[in-house]
Symmetry: C2
């Protein structure tokens, strides 16, 4: 059934639009406004959504893992059954092609299902049990048991560049719901219709799964104050954000400055440095083509887009730069997500082109299509790069800067000057890696993920993924926003001392019917505890 | 061999006192200054200590777990062999009795050895391995492996109330060294001689274990600016603090306001509410005596001291209050750690006594001894308590306030009004616990550890311990400062994608000689990975 798009706030099971102000999204492929009008959320609506989330917390936080798993699967099922209308609206609001829309929806449902499996299995709560020793000298040892417990209602900020996978029912929402936290989503104003349809799917799943009303709400708006009010709200316990550094830092400061500070997880992008060791310059290695694909993937609008390439100067690097520029130029242009993004790209790209020592290897001619931009490869010398922080600013879009270093020492100095990054990559042979320990050390200290002979775009969803990194790539390098460990952002440990079995969370009881892995008296075990 | 006390900074293997200013510690039992003079650390000395720590990081962070374990055991051995002189100086600077000194030293060495065992075993790094699937459609799956890696040099602030266990070689230092982070200790100025002797023991262990110079340094000082400079230093990656809320919040704001913010873990104390359900008031249950012991243990100078008791009004609670006051009065007074602490205690206690509805159940007569204070039980009605935040301020010392509530509803309202706490306790029968779900819910939401029929003092060192709690008990409810999980404060995850085996951290390689527990392709395993 085709869902209507009403432009209202979806608060628990109600649809409300108390505010007078409205906004529209734009079809970036045509530059025209889309037909729907969305109501800006009011302060009263914010209070209502957060209040309902807070009231649902006690019941929702106690739902057993298998029920939360079923709920997450139901959301995924609902999204899949709405695929046709979701993909159509997604394309209309993002200008991205159908293949990407379908792929991203698949990623979104896969994320939901992976968190479902995680909480169904149950070992993620890091249960630790130390049983009593009543005869210990000089003092008896109490029985202590600990596991992770949900923090409370979470605010999720939709991202501009992933209308499905990092937005309304994306990784932040999936992981928070999996942890047992109600979620209030602040939709991204570039794709409000996509957000509304996804939110309706989630709310249908709330009903079908008989979860408490308010465990999910969706608010629309373009104003800064909407996000600020959400983060300031005393009932909000944590927030997740993917977006610009300015936005992330502003909201992070609000979270830290509250009377009771809360964790605020912002993923604020990265230039994802790549080091080309000599053998990687060999045309037969094919890296120019792979990197052209990575730089232009999704019109460069990925936080793992490789914005900086480092190599040692010489004919090999010159040839590589030309090949990369040629490969980039050969990829058909496509529109960016929004006229503002295309405008920002051109401004940043042009400003970088005017920095000392920078020159373009690609043509300056702008493509003809609406919101299309010239995919750009630029080059600069290592000495010009190091010490000019403007050259490591993220140019959001299809842009990469090749840094030509005099020697390994200049290359290492350039790496030392880098800010914190989501990823860092190195291309070469194993022998070359071993012969450049300084390069590897520098990359390790700067990034959350190190890639060997690969492109940073394409973030696998799995337990070993760390999609995070030292500040300013994120506000907290200890947490990931992709992969099952993303659930750890929404919990805190709670110890129970001498607690009667019947009052313990199920995962801490002696019986262990689910075979959860627990650290029992210092030993890992998936067995139950036998008492005499 | 008796160690000299020089009053200098111990920076790596050097002893330096460049500064002109000095200070002395006080023997609280006599009120007299101790004989030694300690040099205030200068900015140059701070730079030197942190610089040396930063230079030692690369080598130290790569030491295998078994070598770090041996180093921690050597520190513990050295402290044990210095026991006699350590205990004598500890008593001279703290006024605490010999039994406590010996017990706390035992706790300190046990902590060091428990982190040694943790890193020797190795599973604490949360290794996750997802192996490659080159034939996966539509895209091949890369090999990704992740584990926890040390953050960098850590500052540890010594605590006033645990000269051994939460200071120079206490839990923060032990856990940071175990994680692979160099440590710079800012000693607490109330026990600088104890700190110096402990620091010498650590530095002897650094030499014996052939660890890099600078992996441990010890700085003395009384000024705020010393701590502030340390937290601001660009080479410092994290800090641990146990102390007052004012101090913790000030340093925490500095850590958050840095150009690159760093994790700052402050444990800022707590009033540790205790709820007495009706059967607990029965004199035969003996809780008056147990709680008198807990309130006065260590002259009440514990962060888990039970400062608030809640009960339902009636003859049972009146009788309990009198019994508690009698038991408290029967315990011989002892001196507090410092004249300032005794002064603060009297000021806070007297100010609380003047709040509406508060009256003392114990005598007002001050004890005769130097720096001794009157252990105090006060009582107030539930309606006076709720809504008067002054009544939940921590009175650091032997003080507890009994809150007499009209009924369970008033009791629950009082609990809702509480700030975040390290612990919360409930006394009664299992049936009573089950009949008071609201009480248990409120306590769970406020604390990091819930105790059933116990006293909160006595913090077991074990994997299941959570010594932390919602703000303002700590700055970050997700981390503990006691127990093996305290190591998680000093690390961040790092993912390796398609990394050659020889360049992986040992714990992520296919061979798994130590039998470390790892999550391999979604399954927990302590085996090695067999490749074809």
């Amino acid at each position: 059934m085709q869902q209507p798009i009403t432009g209202k706030q979806l608060i628990g099971f109600s649809e409300i639009s108390a505010g007078q102000e409205t906004f529209q999204s734009i079809n970036p492929a045509t530059g025209e406004a889309n037909p729907w009008h969305f109501s800006e959320a009011t302060s009263g609506e914010i209070d209502q959504a957060v209040g309902l989330a807070a009231r649902s917390f006690e019941a929702y936080s106690r739902t057993p893992g298998n029920r939360r798993a079923a709920f997450l699967h139901t959301i995924a099922d609902q999204l899949e059954s709405d695929r046709k209308s979701l993909v159509a609206v997604y394309m209309q609001e993002s200008g991205l092609p159908e293949g990407r829309a379908n792929g991203e929806l698949g990623r979104t449902t896969a994320q939901l299902r992976s968190f479902a499996e995680l909480v169904d299995e149950g070992s993620w709560v890091q249960a630790r049990i130390d049983t009593a020793q009543s005869d210990r000298e000089p003092l008896p040892k109490p029985d202590i048991r600990k596991c992770l417990m949900p923090l409370g209602p979470v605010v999720v900020f939709g991202a501009s560049n992933f209308p499905f996978a990092f937005s309304t029912a994306g990784g932040d929402t999936a992981s928070a719901l999996a942890a047992g936290c109600p979620v209030v989503v602040k939709g991204h104003p570039m794709h409000p219709a996509t957000g509304e349809l996804v939110a309706r799917a989630v709310i249908q799943a709330v009903r079908k799964s008989k979860m408490p009303e308010g465990v999910f709400s969706y608010l629309q708006g373009t104003s800064r104050s909407l996000g600020e009010q959400l983060v300031k709200h005393p009932c909000i316990a944590a927030a997740g954000f993917t977006g610009s550094r300015a936005g992330g830092l502003a909201l992070s400061a609000i979270a830290a400055g509250r009377e009771v500070p809360i964790p605020f997880f912002a993923e604020m992008g990265s230039v994802n440095p790549v080091v080309l060791l000599p053998t990687a310059l060999d045309p037969k290695a094919g890296w120019a083509k792979s990197y052209a694909g990575s730089v232009t993937l999704g019109v460069g609008q990925f936080c793992t887009n490789p914005g900086l390439l480092f190599g040692i100067e010489g004919p090999g690097l010159d040839r590589f730069g030309k090949a990369l520029a040629g490969e980039v130029a050969a990829i058909p242009p496509a529109c960016m997500l929004h006229p503002n993004m295309a405008g920002n790209f051109m401004e940043m790209r042009n400003a970088l082109g005017q920095q000392p020592g920078v020159r373009y290897l690609t043509s300056d001619d702008p493509p003809a299509g609406t919101n299309e931009v010239p995919a750009t490869v630029a080059v600069v010398g290592g000495s010009d790069f190091t010490g000019n922080p403007k050259l490591q600013q993220e140019v959001f879009g299809p842009f990469t800067l090749l840094v030509s270093c005099r020697d390994v020492q200049e290359l290492e100095s350039a790496l030392v000057s880098l800010e914190g990054q989501l990823t860092a990559s190195v291309l070469g042979t194993e022998e070359e890696f071993r012969n450049h320990p300084g390069v590897l050390d520098k990359l390790r200290s700067k990034a959350g993920r190190i890639l060997f002979n690969g492109v940073p775009t394409g973030v696998e969803v799995c337990p070993s993924m760390h999609h995070g990194g030292p500040f300013p790539a994120t506000t907290d390098s200890r947490y990931t926003s992709v992969g099952t460990d993303a659930i750890l952002r929404w919990v805190r440990p709670l110890s129970f001392q001498n607690c009667p079995q019947s009052l313990l969370p199920e995962v801490l009881r002696n019986t262990n019917p689910g075979g959860v892995w627990r650290l029992v008296d210092g030993t890992w075990s998936d067995e139950s505890i036998i008492t005499l």
